[in-house]
């Protein structure tokens, strides 16, 4: 077997492994419903840690819906989905939900979220449908001003329930206003910006079941997804990493090197912990709690990110993206160690670096865009403009240039060049304007 063949088979993702991971997530989901669906969770000593019962029910039923096609092919997954769906019914359709819908028809589809998803899973309820139909006729139905991705969620729910008659016009306006039609700022993007991006993709694609009209070139959207993914991977924000990774299967795209690598990191982290973790889980708080309190705290802080891994596995299985997941190689760029050196100079050592070191050199080199994005993010947020300049010069010399982070970093330099004309005291020292082979260290700062 050739060296390249060995490399490929080592990184081939096994469909049964994805099914196993999905099965584990469904086990977590069943326990989450039992622990949290009755009344949610609120940490008595920390108002920022908590989850509502409605959120748990909605996210669980969304997970089940994402598993629908996989469930048809794998008996274990199918029986798990059926079992959890039955557990959810009394939480999704009860007197309280109906009263809220009747009193506030502007939120009717929000309240009926779980009902609609359960109907799609084969658990209809005609009485509940009749009430939702009455609510949908109310003139107050559209009384809420929503963010674009939340408007897309409404349109998606209407499609799922079979009541959409807008001929895609409303949806397209919302898509045009959403993050799908905007560049992500690699240096200042908030988690909410990225959530808006990932959720818009979920809804317009019907969780990957539909090809819809995009507001700009798919390649540009994927480039932004890759930028956000690089940043989140470096921040060990695996919740967002998983959601961003859905972009590839949901848009029917071939995995990029960065996406394939990030998925691999998430799998390794999940294997190490037993679930995909999030920073919300604080061990000091966990150990403060009694044995009786710990399971609900743990589940409330863990379930969402664990579900994201389930969505990702289900999407990968559904869209048959498994065999194409081989770490690509690059023979053009061969200086990844230089970018890694810059990243290392900032001190922290996120998990992805261990996985990176396991790769062969050609696969490491294929991750040059990810390394450049992370290095530039450190340089910009560290106010090290000289390092930004050096990194861009390095990118020009080595063909790592036309990416969102490099373009936007160049824009920062252009703006500061203009500023220094009027405020010379802000000028970058002359000695640092010479081109260096390696990006400069962290000793030159602005501000």
């Amino acid at each position: 077997m050739s060296a390249e063949r060995i490399e490929q088979s080592k990184h081939l993702w096994d469909a049964m492994d994805l099914v196993r991971r999905l099965g584990n997530v469904l086990e977590i989901a069943e326990r989450a419903v039992r622990l949290l669906a009755p009344s949610g969770y609120q940490d008595p000593d920390d108002s920022t840690v908590g989850v509502s019962a409605e959120k748990v029910v909605s996210e669980t039923v969304l997970l089940l819906l994402a598993c629908k096609s996989v469930a048809a092919q794998h008996t274990d997954i199918g029986s798990g989905v059926q079992q959890i769906a039955k557990l959810l019914i009394p939480h999704a359709r009860n007197e309280q939900v109906i009263i809220r819908m009747c009193l506030n028809p502007g939120l009717a589809y929000d309240y009926a979220f779980a009902h609609i998803c359960l109907s799609c899973l084969g658990f209809p309820d005609t009485q509940f449908d009749r009430i939702l139909h009455l609510c949908s006729e109310s003139e107050a139905l559209g009384s809420r001003e929503r963010l674009p991705h939340r408007t897309l969620e409404q349109e998606w729910l209407k499609r799922m329930w079979g009541s959409s008659n807008t001929k895609d016009r409303d949806e397209y306006w919302a898509v045009a206003l959403s993050m799908l039609n905007r560049s992500i700022d690699p240096f200042t993007a908030s988690r909410d910006d990225i959530y808006a991006f990932t959720h818009a993709i979920m809804y317009i694609s019907d969780l990957g079941g539909r090809t819809s009209r995009l507001p700009r070139a798919k390649g540009d959207i994927l480039a932004d997804a890759e930028t956000a993914l690089s940043i989140c991977l470096d921040q060990q924000d695996y919740d967002l990493c998983g959601e961003i990774l859905l972009t590839w299967p949901y848009l029917g795209a071939k995995w990029s090197a960065t996406a394939a690598f990030a998925f691999r990191v998430l799998m390794r982290v999940e294997d190490a912990v037993g679930f995909l973790p999030a920073p919300l889980t604080r061990l000091d708080r966990y150990y403060e709690l009694s044995d009786e309190e710990r399971p609900r705290y743990a589940m409330a802080t863990v379930y969402h990110t664990a579900y994201v891994m389930g969505l990702l596995c289900a999407a990968s299985l559904k869209h048959d993206r498994i065999l194409s997941v081989v770490m690509p190689r690059s023979h053009k760029f061969n200086r990844s160690e230089i970018l890694l050196k810059v990243i290392d100079s900032y001190g922290n050592k996120p998990h992805w670096q261990d996985d990176f070191m396991q790769l062969e050199t050609e696969s490491q080199n294929a991750l040059a865009p990810m390394l450049m994005t992370i290095a530039l993010r450190h340089a910009v947020t560290g106010h090290n403009l000289e390092q930004v300049r050096s990194l861009l010069a390095f990118g020009i010399d080595n063909g790592v240039l036309n990416y969102p982070a490099t373009r936007q970093a160049a824009g920062i330099l252009r703006r500061f060049a203009e500023v220094t004309i009027h405020s010379p005291e802000l000028a970058v020292p002359e000695s640092t304007t010479q081109r260096t082979e390696e990006p400069a260290g962290t000793d030159t700062h602005i501000a």
């Binding site: 108002s47 695996y238 912990v273 920073p279 889980t281 589940m299």
Partner: protein, 84 residues
């Protein structure tokens, strides 16, 4: 939807009031001096109107930085609670 104080928030607000860090007299004087005119000109209604009861707010600014993820090996202890 509003929510009540957490214990930590209550302690902060109590300390600010008791230490006189917020000078209510000075704030009242400023509002008395400028408030009526600003209200009549409709350029201050977002912060000063008859129905607005909160004239002073203490904000905790979001730093857009996530807390560090706990060590993976230590997080494994939590898995027994979520997998049953």
């Amino acid at each position: 939807m509003g929510r009540g104080f957490s214990e930590a928030e209550r302690q902060i607000v109590t300390a600010l009031i008791e230490s006189l860090a917020v000078n209510f007299e000075a704030l009242g004087t400023a509002l008395a001096k400028y408030g009526a005119n600003a209200t009549l000109q409709l350029d201050g209604e977002d912060w000063f109107c008859g129905t607005m009861r909160r004239f002073i707010r203490v904000y905790r600014l979001a730093d857009n930085v996530l807390p560090a993820l706990e060590t993976l090996a230590e997080l494994r202890a939590v898995s027994k609670d979520i997998q049953g």
